[in-house]
Symmetry: C2
Subunit: 281 residues, 2 copies
């Protein structure tokens, strides 16, 4: 593959540039970011070979275009990119799929687009958050691949297997439901946990002194940016509400067991929760 254009040089776009360069999977990488400061830093950090503000030219020069912007911007940027496309392959790397794919379904170049979601990330954002090996041994979900040209899907397979990812083909609706379970809900509980502690614990130094690994790991995702996450919750609203209502129900149940001092019941519930060990050893 000769040239890759990455639009959006944050955690995911930047890490992708870094990995493609380090593994020699792209001969040349062009970066585009609306934020000129981000673009400059991405180049300084060696995430891309060059940057430009000319989106149309950057698309035309590419073999593969990666759109790595927040999900609200995705709805504008992906159609703009597809408008410029001849035989290039275009992918998004966003966290929700149904809204975007519905939005694109009438686009004349739809078949050059492949919707993918790398199940990888950290709580940080921006070019400085880019890290190598972010994608190694992680899952790449490819959605509704039957609506993409075979050569386009093949290029995606080749690139992401080259990054050490395992591919999983799902339809967009299934993806959005599973993503609500295993990613979106974790962020909401973490935001709520941070708000709880910040509300109840006025002595910030005490939080710092006492926070052990357990607290730090459950509250880590609460550092995640609203610019990325609000559009995800907006686009996956019904699945998120469904899972969140189940979570509220489970939490209320644990609360009631403690309130009425039913410690046998609590023991049983914790044993049930321990089954997660079998799935995530």
């Amino acid at each position: 593959m000769k040239t890759v254009t990455i639009i959006g040089l944050g955690l995911i776009g930047g890490s992708l540039g870094l990995s493609l360069r380090q593994l020699g999977l792209a001969a040349h990488i062009i970066g585009v970011d609306l934020n000129a400061d981000n673009a400059r830093r991405a180049q300084e950090l060696g995430l891309v070979d060059e940057t430009t503000a000319d989106l149309a030219a950057a698309v035309r020069r590419a073999d593969l275009v990666v759109v790595a912007v927040p999900m609200d911007a995705m709805l504008t940027v992906v159609p703009q990119v597809l408008d410029e496309v001849a035989q290039q392959v275009v992918i998004d790397v966003g966290s929700t799929k149904a809204t975007l794919l519905t939005h694109l379904q009438e686009h004349p170049r739809r078949s050059r687009f492949v919707a993918v979601h790398p199940m990888a990330g950290t709580e940080y954002s921006g070019p400085e958050a880019a890290v190598p090996d972010l994608f190694t041994d992680k899952t790449l979900v490819v959605c509704d691949a039957q609506h993409s040209d075979a050569d386009a899907v093949q290029l995606v397979e080749q690139v992401f297997q080259g990054l050490g990812m395992h591919l999983l083909f799902l339809d967009a609706a299934d993806h959005d439901l599973h993503a609500a379970y295993v990613s979106h809900i974790s962020h909401i509980t973490s935001f709520a946990l941070a708000l709880t502690v910040l509300e109840k614990e006025k002595e910030e130094q005490r939080i710092f002194d006492l926070a052990s690994g357990g607290f730090a790991s459950t509250v880590r995702l609460a550092k995640s940016s609203p610019a990325m996450w609000v559009p995800i919750f907006r686009q996956n609203r019904l699945n998120v509400l469904d899972v969140l209502d189940e979570h509220l129900h489970q939490l209320q149940n644990l609360r009631n067991l403690i309130a009425r001092e039913d410690f046998n019941g609590l023991h049983h519930a914790i044993e049930q929760a321990n089954h997660i060990r079998k799935i995530l050893p």
Copy 2:
């Protein structure tokens, strides 16, 4: 310090034995565990120098006795140990303090006891869970030190500073409240999250495929054992309920913002949650 007796050879007791041996902070370490299999494995793993089932003799031979059993057993074992004590120093390493200290307040040897809580742990339990360096750079809370003899507190300072811990002196009621915020509540949210996902996501292979670092870190604590945690929730019940009610309120609020599509409000709430960055960088 010559001889340390550790009662309870699980994650904390075992890790303490390992660290004291590796750092040369004790000349001889005696292990006691009601479970003969645990005792045997602790010795095989090199966590202690010898094991015995004779609690009274193990206490009499020690300079320092560490009681590292679940909080319900603590209420029986610590008084048993203190009954055997002449000039030995006895510590617990438990996660709640007010119930235990009230229980001990009339004991004739109370002043030989120092209540400490190392703010360190993992989700695993048993002798195999013991790891070196568990305590390095962590906080050790010392509770109600004014009720302990000065030489006993001094020995505790010397040993745990030797392990690289920072000491923090709190009264028991404050400790239990702060521990509810920064440790106990994280476990409850994690148990509830595991139950939610196990309830809603029937395709276990999908959980495994899709779980990225974020989910794994929020659900990690749900692997923790009920034998350890139920007694903690029982003894710290009122603080845990208080913090849990605030957490339910915060979660309900995020849910309502999403339900009524108030995405500006949601953005603001996430920005507030992001303040946790300032405290836990």
